[in-house]
Symmetry: C2
Subunit: 93 residues, 2 copies
Amino acid sequence: MRTTDERKISEFFKALSHPTRIAIVTNLLKNKKCVNDIRDLVKVKQPNISQHLSLLKLNGIVDWHQEGKMRCYYLKNPQLIKDILEILKKDEN
Amino acid sequence: MRTTDERKISEFFKALSHPTRIAIVTNLLKNKKCVNDIRDLVKVKQPNISQHLSLLKLNGIVDWHQEGKMRCYYLKNPQLIKDILEILKKDEN
DNA sequence: GTTATATATTCAGATATTCTAATAAATTAA
DNA sequence: TTAATTTATTAGAATATCTGAATATATAAC
């Protein structure tokens, strides 16, 4: 039996606990991208990319908007992601 | 096939992707604690606490030293944990 | 409408994680 | 050495996650 806070925080970490999702998120740091662009950059098959994207969306990390026939995904809070990754890089793990 | 960086970062997140481990880590933020103290604070059975602690140790998040018959666990880089949790709290999720 | 393109969903098998219960190991005190 | 205390390990069942393959859906262009 744990607090809501502990669960929310651990859910956030779990959402980022897969190398492919880290790759997606770091690619989105620069700018929004559509699914097939992400697929090409991350080099993972499209259905799998979509699966990871939907998990990231479910956890409030990304969102998307339609542009023509493409879905553009973007980080909902890029500064948050940037700050956390920055701290981790500094830690020199 | 992912980069070493992506794997390391996702491993770090995975280590923190469980509510019990978040509870452990936030309790250790204040000061080091022995296993049974953690058990009492986090309210999880001792073997399970030990399992989570060993995972946190494996991932370089905690370490321990012996004090009499007790093992005192502490955060290896408390500032890192503090900073990341601080950022998440600010984000008001 | 049809076609092509872009993306999402579903299913199933493989793998990983989690918890509990039981037990083992290590340390200290007597 | 024995007993008590503290912590770790193991095994097994339940659950969750991950991936690939196949398929479905949505949008735009024609």
